[in-house]
Subunit: 194 residues, 4 copies
Amino acid sequence: MTKGRMEAFSDGVLAIIITIMVLEIKVPHGNSFNDLLPLLPIFLSYVLSFIYLGIYWNNHHHMLHTVKKVSGKILWANLHLLFWLSLVPFVTGWMGENHFAAETMALYGFIMLMAAIAYFFLQNSIIHSQGEGSLLKHAVGNDLKGKLSPVLYIIGIAMAWVNEWISGAMFVLVAIIWLVPDKRIEKILKSEGE
Amino acid sequence: MTKGRMEAFSDGVLAIIITIMVLEIKVPHGNSFNDLLPLLPIFLSYVLSFIYLGIYWNNHHHMLHTVKKVSGKILWANLHLLFWLSLVPFVTGWMGENHFAAETMALYGFIMLMAAIAYFFLQNSIIHSQGEGSLLKHAVGNDLKGKLSPVLYIIGIAMAWVNEWISGAMFVLVAIIWLVPDKRIEKILKSEGE
Amino acid sequence: MTKGRMEAFSDGVLAIIITIMVLEIKVPHGNSFNDLLPLLPIFLSYVLSFIYLGIYWNNHHHMLHTVKKVSGKILWANLHLLFWLSLVPFVTGWMGENHFAAETMALYGFIMLMAAIAYFFLQNSIIHSQGEGSLLKHAVGNDLKGKLSPVLYIIGIAMAWVNEWISGAMFVLVAIIWLVPDKRIEKILKSEGE
Amino acid sequence: MTKGRMEAFSDGVLAIIITIMVLEIKVPHGNSFNDLLPLLPIFLSYVLSFIYLGIYWNNHHHMLHTVKKVSGKILWANLHLLFWLSLVPFVTGWMGENHFAAETMALYGFIMLMAAIAYFFLQNSIIHSQGEGSLLKHAVGNDLKGKLSPVLYIIGIAMAWVNEWISGAMFVLVAIIWLVPDKRIEKILKSEGE
């Protein structure tokens, strides 16, 4: 099965990205809980990014369930997505170490926006390759979440210079939207099986 | 087989966590054995965490043997477990570099406690998804080890401020309990096969 | 299937190389976009290397499609390729941090040249192992890209001391040549299937 | 197939170890070839360790070919091997950064010796689990290489304080012994297939 290696490679890259982020939480010099306090913003941004990457892995996993064969175009659309996600540890670290300063949050939102667009491209490549009666197209439906996310990211980016809390709230909101169980593809696959 | 990617991703993350920990053992500047002496506590905490992660990988491996299909809930319960385990290199490094100071040991125990709870959640999600006559439920039985571990962790955490040796003994004890070959699932699987 | 583990190991190494490179983009101390400016050359070299590694993974993926059994010679030819690719994060970081200085670019080109030669060796080992009527030999054809790349690398290396822009243009050109969809193997495989 | 995950996990750990070593080759500050000169011993030790790990991966790959089912004992024997191999980046870096000083070479040899012993244990666990007529036992035969390596390591360790060149020669010799194609298992497997 030709998609096996694409899944394996994506799993590998996502597993490394999610784990490498923890290296940004540098071991402090002191040995008391107080010495951990300055790490709190870094930890919080780690949690947020971990959840984001978990969502991406989850959705990627479901999306590829509908794929039977992989074209060169899909391979590159996938690498394009992985490229933006590979920058997540950097922006997570930068945002966390600077206590959610305006421009660090804007860049975080920008990278997330680019990843969302890359995911959208990948999804479209797959749908296009499946032709008429695409299983993925059916599963995605009106893709409300997919359309809402970029809007929230853009609001989050713009708000970074106004109020960092609103900006952060937007990014958290995107995560919450996706964390709500997305039965779409699971349902379609199940009904296919019947 | 739908669980394949969840296994691959978990293997990837666990492999990276277990290997990244070694980066905390920083190459010393001197070139004699004496220069390695200050690294001893870091090395010991590395060994302990390596064994813990080996146990987790082992148990995870056996547990997933009983799983046939993976739901969204199980995927997230798994990511939740990986989240706490991803913090192991950090707490291992902090504890080792501070020569097992009280609060560093307490945090180590806390992360291990959270991982144990996350493992318990994952186990329950799988049992629940298997419904009546769950193979895993049967295999786990009264889950003595699973129930004892959190108690030992909590004693270990509380003892960190009293006596670091007792605290450490608790953490080592948990590892020993699990290292003793756990034939439960293997047995059940074997009898299933017959 | 004996080639499964060779693919898995290669995927693992390539996934790690591609992700570890991002660690060279060190989080800056300031919190404004201006603080990111010094990172631009590092980022650009990261993008170039990411694309190169993506191309290698892609070609590797297609090439192994034609392989049925793996000999010890092929395993070592593969490890030899991975060795040169494992040095990519180092040369990428060195080139980026030194703003594409002459000798850093020459070394970058040299490592890429060695990787290309290693890839050529691997390809030949596979063709040789397939004997008469090798599917891969048929697929590769006159291997124009494979022959052109080393020439461009050598020009790029020589030009590093003359004009860094020409040197860089050579390296970018190689990437573009390979990015243009390479239908060769896909076509052959398809016609095999019919 | 129950051994799939053990292979995947081992591949993951070995891939990470082999790649993480390259992080010990720190990007120098200068931008000329002269600035690379101090890195030469680090590079040489990297090459040696890369070859060692390649050999381990290769042999591990062949050995597991003979395995049908994996017991808890084999899983732990495998983790034990991975533990010693996980220390290779550390000893490689220490030896390289200290220009092959006596005690750094002795430690390098010691870790390699422990890995060889761990490999021997793993091999024995598998042979034992296969019972009478073990395919692996047959394939390993008198295991000349396996018996010679520890002897050479011990000579290498002892010689570290006498003459570093002899010590290094021993370690290189072990690698050469193993690099010579080992047809044993391949042959046996082939004759099994017939």
